[in-house]
Amino acid sequence: MTTTASDPTRHFFQPIIVCLTVASVALTLFVIWISLHDLSLMRAGREKFVGLDNYLRFFGDPRAMAALWRTVLFTALATVIEIALGLAVVLFLDRDFAMKRLVRTLLLVPIIMTPVVVGLTWRFLFDPATGMANYLLSLAGLSQIDWLGSPRIALFSVLIADIWQWTPFVILLVMAALESAPTDPLNAARVDGAREWQVTWYVLLPMLRRALAIVALIRAIDSIKAFDLFYIMTRGGPALSTETLNYYGYIVAFTNFDISYALAIAVILTIFTNVALLTMYSVLFPKAGER
């Protein structure tokens, strides 16, 4: 240890790691302290210790439970659809064609677009009277849809905007993985007489497994925390039908000023995220011995 202690490169990262550690420990303690009290911004300074009340309240709060379920639904749908659609597009584009570089550049546009602007754009397209979406439906002879005004549909309209913004990300990442994959196994399978779908299913997909797993994890983390699209497109409505847990936490903190309960929600959301990630991780990256 004495040799590493005198290694000057340690001085480069240690102060920052120490700062980040201290900041995150202090923050965690502060969050726990607040969530065990009944601190409200309306009457700061007169809080008292309430133990686990805020956490117990969560499980008896039907609005929170509905928001939790909605978060699970939104995350599962967004992740699965974006991965499936993205993979389909990658397989479709897997050939040489003119302008491939240009297509790649254009696919970047939704990813780097400001999420607030994405929300506004889709709200504009989904406008019930003058929006493009209903105009296209009328061209096709279909009846009009109240995209953001109907409690049964609004969550799926937000989902469409999320899919629009993030499927290109899946496409670009999986495309990069596909291009760095060796082509020998594919050709070997073809020489052995495998049909094209067999090559795709038995050789290509297993090679893309790692990239798909990573992108699924990233999309799941981001979907659980999704906020911008909901705030801009629906504000959690109509009739709370698009209120996710993250959004509910925001409302509790900054509309009701009940920051203790809001932090209890945030803590539960964090635990929930970690459990979901660990579960996904162990499914997507099974240990060698288990298979």
């Binding site: 290694d7 490169t9 340690r10 001085h11 480069f12 990262f13 920052i16 790691i17 980040l20 550690t21 900041a23 923050l27 502060f30 969050v31 607040i34 601190l39 911004l41 700061a44 597009v89 479709f92 584009l93 297509v103 254009l106 970047l108 939704p110 990813i111 780097i112 677009m113 400001t114 999420p115 607030v116 602007v117 506004l120 754009t121 504009f124 397209l125 009277a129 003058t130 105009y135 629009w164 990300f169 990442l173 990573i214 992108v215 659980i224 925390k225 911008d228 993250n246 936490g249 900054f254 920051i259 809001a262 932090l263 929600i265 945030a266 803590v267 959301l269 964090t270 995220t273 990630l277």
Partner: protein, 270 residues
């Protein structure tokens, strides 16, 4: 021949789906109110700059532009400065120590923003910092530092170790190796990291929504003000939206090769 036609048709549909929403917003920003809401939609029209005049006449929007600019540049520069020093140190460490630190840095990015924004908001109201730029700059630097460290490590890894060893043999001190060898060699990566931090900060909404006051509002927060008064002013809104995203699309195309790398870093290496 038929298969090729089908392929290009599919490609066309894909590009249409990706680009049409963007096209429609930009086009609407040049329309008069009557053209913007015409059904069936007007495809050819005489463009007007009225919506842009409305936006530029809005003092709140202009100051939001300045706020966004200052906050994203300063917090990103701070994050990259701190991050490059830390990344240099970490890149020289043996595998185990380095991996454990990297894991810790990554874990900081999983927690929802709600978890640190509420305590920050509470403390800021107590000390009266809610309407000050440094609060926002500090918050974004805190968010960007872990990101900058993990991305910069991957760029420093690309630099051959022999460069460092040669400089050390010549008697250079560690800091001068960092300053005179690594920083110039990783210039492209550092610029890309800086741009990605700016992109992220410019686009960020949630932290800004909570931690800004009247004088520090950034663009994504400021644009929501077009949403409330007497319905929605779609003309001005689409013009403002175009102005917000245009610089980011230009920056994004400049660093396009790094964006997917930046967004997946760490997780790619496991």
């Amino acid at each position: 021949m038929g298969r090729r036609a089908v392929f290009y048709l599919g490609l066309l549909l894909l590009l249409l789906a990706v680009l049409f929403p963007l096209y429609w917003v930009v086009v609407t920003s040049f329309k008069t109110t009557r053209d913007a809401f015409a059904i069936p939609p007007v495809w050819l029209f005489s463009p007007t700059l009225d919506n842009y005049r409305t936006v530029f006449a809005n003092r709140g929007f202009l100051s939001a532009f300045a706020n966004s600019f200052v906050v994203s540049i300063l917090s990103s520069a701070l994050a990259v400065a701190i991050g490059s020093v830390a990344a240099y140190g970490l890149a020289q460490q043996p595998g185990d120590l380095r991996r454990s630190k990297e894991k810790f840095i990554l874990s900081l990015r999983i927690a929802p923003a709600l978890l640190f924004v509420i305590p920050m908001y509470y403390l800021a109201t107590r000390i009266g910092a809610l309407n000050q730029h440094w609060l926002l700059i500090a918050a974004y630097a805190f968010v960007n530092v872990p990101f900058a460290i993990s991305l910069l490590i991957t760029f420093f890894d690309d630099i051959p170790k022999e460069l460092r060893d040669a400089a050390r043999v010549d008697g250079a001190r560690e800091f001068s190796v960092f300053w005179h060898v690594y920083l110039p060699a990783a210039r492209g990566g550092i610029v890309a990291t800086l741009i990605l931090c700016v992109l992220f900060t410019w686009n960020e909404f949630f932290v800004a929504l909570v931690l800004t006051g009247r004088d520090t509002q950034t663009l994504p927060v400021s644009i929501t003000s077009f949403l409330t008064f007497q319905g929605i002013q779609w003309g001005a809104l689409t013009a403002a939206a175009t102005l917000i995203m245009l610089p980011m699309i230009v920056l994004g195309v400049l660093v396009q090769g790094q964006i997917v790398r930046g967004m997946t870093l760490g997780s790619v290496k496991g």
